[in-house]
């Protein structure tokens, strides 16, 4: 049922004319994905997704939609001038996925998933994050600094 909600939300994102409707559909997809993360015994990633993605990035998108005043765009066409070629390319990609699924059917993991039931998932994630992936963690913070500076410079009126 959660996956049905995600797929319907995804279809709504790409087909609604009003971008505010698309943003709300994307929030639905993100919340359903957080619930699926909970099903996969990953509570820390689910919490991070709700706080960061649905609570940060989508709010940023909604602010920019409000800034960029697109009343005029609501009366224009929804799909761009190359929608046929784009759809053909995407269907080709889907055909590739189906071909990979059919040909390599016995190498995909199909056993029943185990139910890991320990309560220290956040602690284990922190052990990995600050231990083995410490360098990547520092680089990610540097990346965020560069992104902040870049976003501020791009949106200023006079540099």
């Amino acid at each position: 049922m959660l996956s049905g909600m995600m797929l319907v939300g995804g279809i709504l994102v790409i087909t609604r004319k009003n971008p505010v409707h698309s943003a709300l559909a994307l929030i639905t997809v993100l919340l359903a994905q957080a619930a699926i993360y909970l099903m996969l015994y990953a509570p820390f990633v689910a919490g991070v997704q709700i706080i960061l993605y649905a609570g940060g990035i989508m709010v940023l998108f909604l602010f920019v939609i409000m800034l960029v005043n697109i009343d005029r765009a609501a009366k224009e066409k929804t799909f761009n001038s190359q929608w046929l070629v784009g759809s053909v390319a995407a269907i080709a990609l889907g055909g590739l996925f189906v071909a990979v699924y059919i040909k390599g059917n016995n190498i995909f993991p199909e056993h029943v998933m185990p139910g890991v039931a320990d309560n220290s998932n956040t602690q284990n994630v922190a052990t990995l994050l600050y231990g083995q992936y410490m360098f990547a963690f520092e680089i990610a913070s540097l990346l965020l600094l560069v992104a902040i500076i870049g976003a501020v410079v791009m949106a200023k009126k006079r540099i």
């Binding site: 996956s3 797929l7 995804g10 994102v13 790409i14 971008p19 698309s22 943003a23 997809v29 993100l30 994905q33 699926i36 996969l40 015994y41 990953a42 820390f44 990633v45 991070v48 997704q49 960061l52 993605y53 990035i57 998108f61 920019v64 939609i65 800034l67 960029v68 697109i70 005029r72 765009a73 224009e76 799909f79 761009n80 070629v85 784009g86 759809s87 995407a90 990609l93 996925f97 995909f108 993991p109 199909e110 029943v112 998933m113 185990p114 320990d118 994630v125 990995l128 994050l129 992936y133 990346l143 965020l144 560069v146 992104a147 870049g150 976003a151 501020v152 791009m154 949106a155 009126k157």
Partner: protein, 116 residues
């Protein structure tokens, strides 16, 4: 109880692939730039779903093969991907604002100055 559908890793992979396909369709066919950026976020979410599904798969493997309950590498990678998505969304929206200030439109079809 025997006829209950077991949810295996394959179901999560297929769901991730379907979301990826929807995101690619959104990137290639929408006219509004904001919706294109939101489709990119959809693609990144599909990748995250794949990563966390495989991390759960590896948690069921025995420890000498690289499994065990501490094998959460996929989840750590997914956290990094979420951080990356935040940074790129911020920069992309900054570019969008600068572009809108010059041209007063949010259509991709109007960005054809480099067309030959």
């Amino acid at each position: 109880m025997d006829s209950m559908l077991h949810i295996t890793t394959l179901h999560y992979l297929v769901l991730g692939a379907a979301l990826f396909l929807l995101g690619v369709i959104g990137v290639l066919t929408r006219r509004n730039v904001v919706v294109v950026l939101m489709s990119i976020e959809l693609i990144l979410n599909a990748v995250n779903l794949n990563l966390v599904a495989f991390s759960h798969y590896w948690q069921g493997m025995p420890v000498p093969l690289g499994g065990g309950s501490l094998a959460l590498h996929g989840q750590v990678f997914a956290i990094f991907v979420i951080t990356d998505a935040a940074a790129e969304a911020a920069v992309g929206l900054g570019i969008l604002i600068a572009f809108f200030r010059n041209k007063e439109t949010v259509n991709i079809d109007e960005v054809h100055l480099l067309k030959w």
